[in-house]
Amino acid sequence: MNPMRRTGIILLTALIISLFFCFAAGADTGALRFPPPDFESGYEMPATETPPSASDIYEYLAVIVLAAVLGLGTYFVFTKRKRKYIWGLMIFSLAFFGFWRRGCICPVGATQNITLTIFDQGYAVPVVVIILFLLPLVLSLFWGRIFCGTACPLGAIQDIVLLKPLSVPYWLEVPLRLLGYVYLGMAVLLAVTGAGFIICRYDPFVSFFRFSGSLGALMLGGAFLVVGIFIGRPYCRFLCPYGILLRHLSRISKWKVKISSDECIQCRLCEDSCPFGAIRQPTGEASGEELARRKKMLAVSIVLLPIIVFAGGLGGARISSLLARAHPDVRLADRIYREESGEVAGTTDQSEAFRSTGDQSIESLYELSAEIQATYHQGSRLLGAFLGLVVAASLIRHTVRRRSREYKADPSDCLACGRCFELCPNERLRRQRIKEEEDLRVG
């Protein structure tokens, strides 16, 4: 049996089993377990700014639709190899996952929920969320970033505004990509410490999907879209934390997007067509001198690795107090302290609520704040070390030279948009041959 078909069957079976498990666990995820109390004071429950939790059937529907989109996307990218089909699927995903489901829940934001599930003993996400998070990751192990190209509404909204693509120089692209690691690290740290879900809170496009949002959120989203007219998918390439996970898993994917169906004629059309800088040039044979130089650079990078990691850890520890201020309890304790010591006049909503409810003494708030700050100290150190490791690994990666004889789409950066093979002359010839064969058969 064709290995691709076999893997497809395995994935489909896995999906059916997980959906069965999902339905079996369905009783858990009932509607509101406790109705809101009747307030004697006349207090009315405020309207939530986030979309209400959908009923179970819609959650399952989202999983089924995501699986179908990913399956179709894989078929379009690897078998049909036609950009217009991929584009159509992308628009459908934008409409369904973006505007209809109002961008929630998406695998990108689910990163934080899964993190919190791992670290918080009292928190667990519904099975649907686990599947939504894992499905694109599992798929990327086999076919690369199909999710980015076909199913992600955040990517789709940026893709449709890409009108005048400009290439980002490689020397700028590499450091910009590191921002995604910073964002991922921060999101994990803040989710673990309970400070909040920054990926959701600062999602630049969710205000468009919900037709509501603060002015700041709209401006942020607008800025990304304006930049996205010239720079292909800036959020996906330089910030998306889920993209980081997909990037690393795609690197080891079993099947990779092939630009040319035949031998590459090195026309460079694919390189010009890719707005995401994912096409790598052929390297040819290296001279002995260059190999020696690269070996030296590799040795230096390996020696530098522990130093960079250590420096990152130190740097992280230094900014821990700044990061800790992201936690509301730390901010509240600081505010109360400054109010008590007379440094500031007046109160805030939070400090007034704290005093009025009287649930907690000021001393216990200070103690809690100190505990949280200690956690941040450790977490920031780890975050710094992680970022140091990423920088060092990036240095090492750039010293290693891989032989290649043709233009290739880098699986870690390729978003499976289909632009490259749409322009490839070999691919056009292949399509023409197929069309001729079909015409002959019909005739």
């Binding site: 858990d28 829940i105 686990i130 909040g196 994917s253 309890d329």
Partner: protein
């Protein structure tokens, strides 16, 4: 000779990637199962868990703004009355 060497490298690389893929699948499968079982366990213990992920999510309980406003309104009503 060079081709043979390259093929060997490719095979070695493929094997390594295959191993990594299996490991990644294993980790994701085990992690997913553990997360699903954890939810079941917490529900059995009578914990109140959020249904969706954004609304009623305890992470957003830090907001506190509506509660603060209602208390302020209540206090101002009392002082006015």
């Amino acid at each position: 000779m060079s081709n043979v060497k390259q093929n060997k490298e490719l095979t070695r690389r493929d094997m390594l990637f295959g191993g990594l893929r299996c490991a990644a699948l294993g980790v994701m499968g085990a992690g997913g199962l553990a997360a699903a079982l954890k939810r079941k366990k917490l529900l059995r213990e009578g914990k109140c868990l959020n249904n969706g992920i954004c609304p009623q999510c305890h992470v957003f309980a830090d907001c506190g703004l509506p509660r603060a406003r209602s208390i302020r309104d209540k206090n101002s009503e009392r002082s006015d009355g």
